[in-house]
Amino acid sequence: MIRVVLPPHLRTLAHVGSEVTVEVEGQATLRLVLDELEARYPMLRGTIRDHVTLQRRPFLRFFACEQDLSHDSPDAPLPDAIVSGKEPLIVLGAIAGG
């Protein structure tokens, strides 16, 4: 069970609380977690990564275990603490704008 923390606007869109959980079969990667997240909450499709290119939106970041995973390969294995559910994967919106 992988815990995912969403930014407030996406919680509103998905009608969920601050944290959701997803199950991923096999080696957990960022891509598989996002695939599963979007399958469970299709209203989030296109909001975290582009609908067509699947590239991360520029003003969003992926943090986990005090590391910025945003520039890592989406197919890299996630840290053990994320896979075990000890730590959440955090989808964070850039602090910018007005």
């Binding site: 869109l13 499709r45 609908h51 919106g93």
Partner: protein
């Protein structure tokens, strides 16, 4: 008694303002989609309870929202509100997907347009500026997007397909973004000819199809723009908005970057009708619901000072289809006012007398229940208003 429902999209959410036919006491609902930019909301002429909304964010991209109950509740088309998806009825979540057509048969594939520095730049989807529901089918709706293209949904917004003949007709590589981006912001459906559609793009110009969107042609003859290398070019004009009266769809009125223009032949030829306006820069233009020769604009000081002239918020009305204009000021601030009225932020109802509505970048939404003779604010302190539409309800 008839009612009106005003749909106001703002920088930080949507608001729905309702009143009876007197239009003097208003209920305000909102913010809906709090914190999001609401570029446009518009109701279906065929089913007033069906409203489409463009919800967008620099962080999270484009969301299409739909209401089937007059704005009380909303959902993303094809995606059930609330619960997580459960197989086997997994929704596809396609309603926010605007994928440019690059197929050899229809998209050609057109992949670049002109960038600010004159080089070619890839087409990149950013947001939906304008939603135009079909005049006859609640499930058919058109979307004008940035970077400029026209999409259509025939399933209530669940899926979208580009009408790629527009981008692919030949002039696409010459289109370039205006200061606000390269947006397709105006969509006019001809009520007498279902195959005829007009659209406008900043900064490319106006275009028309006569075959339901398969083929398109520029309709910019007569436009003159000093700020482009060839002021009379076929393409490159920064058209801000175009309006039409449903009883006379061959007559078009245009607020260009500078100049108010008129065409009496479906856009084939344009002539300037700025007349005695104090400045002919502006964004909005609209037509009286019952008089095709009565039109409204809100002149803005200049392209470098985007606020009303002389600190006075004045709507200008022409009862002669242009050239002779009168300032409408009763009830509007006439000193120290420095707001703008954006291109989609004016609408008219179809009551008698015709109601006129507009929203400002200062967050006011003004209404006139007497065709512009007098005005009163419905609300004064909303976020900056991006769009205003109105529905006249039985």
């Amino acid at each position: 008694m008839s009612k009106v429902r005003v749909l106001a999209g703002t920088r930080k959410g949507a608001f729905i303002l309702t009143a009876d036919g007197k239009r003097d006491k208003w209920d305000v609902s909102g913010p809906h989609f709090a914190g999001w930019e609401m570029y446009h909301m518009k109701g279906s002429p065929a089913d007033p309870n069906r409203i489409y909304a463009s919800q967008t964010s620099g962080w999270f991209g484009q969301i299409i929202q739909r209401s089937d109950d007059g704005g009380k509740t909303w959902h993303q088309p094809g995606t059930p509100p609330g619960d997580a998806a459960k197989p086997p009825e997994m929704p596809k979540g396609e309603s926010n997907k605007f994928a440019y057509d690059t197929s050899p048969e229809t998209g050609k594939p057109l992949t670049t347009h002109q960038w600010y520095d004159g080089t070619q730049h890839p087409w990149e989807f950013k947001r939906v500026w304008h939603l135009e529901p079909s005049l006859t089918d609640p499930n058919t709706v058109y979307a004008g997007v940035e970077d400029a293209a026209l999409f259509r949904s025939t399933d209530g917004g669940e899926t979208w397909k580009e009408l790629s003949g527009l981008r692919g007709h030949g002039t696409g590589p010459k289109w370039q973004p205006g200061a606000g981006g390269m947006c397709l912001h105006t969509i006019l459906l001809d009520p007498k000819d279902p195959k005829r559609i007009y659209i406008a793009i900043s900064a490319a110009g106006a275009f028309r199809t006569d075959d339901g969107g398969n083929s398109w042609k520029p309709i910019n003859r007569g436009l003159r723009s000093q700020y482009i290398p060839d002021p009379n070019a076929e393409i490159g004009h920064c058209v801000h908005h175009v309006a039409m009266h449903k009883a006379r769809p061959n007559v078009l009125y245009m607020q260009k970057h500078w100049d108010v223009m008129r065409s009496d032949d479906a856009g084939d030829n344009w002539r300037e009708v700025s007349g005695n306006l104090p400045t002919d820069f502006g964004f909005v233009i609209d037509v009286h619901a019952h008089d095709p020769e009565t039109i409204y604009v809100v002149p803005i000081k200049s392209d470098s000072e985007h606020y009303v002239h002389e600190g006075k918020l004045r709507v200008f009305r022409s009862k002669s289809g242009g050239n002779e204009w009168e300032a409408l000021t009763k009830g509007l601030p006439q000193s120290n006012c420095y707001v703008n009225v954006l291109r989609d932020a004016m609408a008219v109802d179809s009551l008698d007398k015709c109601g006129i509505y507009f929203g400002t970048t200062g967050g006011q939404v003004y209404a006139s229940a007497d065709a512009g003779d007098s005005w009163a604010p419905i609300v004064r302190d909303l976020p900056a208003v991006l769009s205003v539409e109105v529905q006249t309800l039985p």
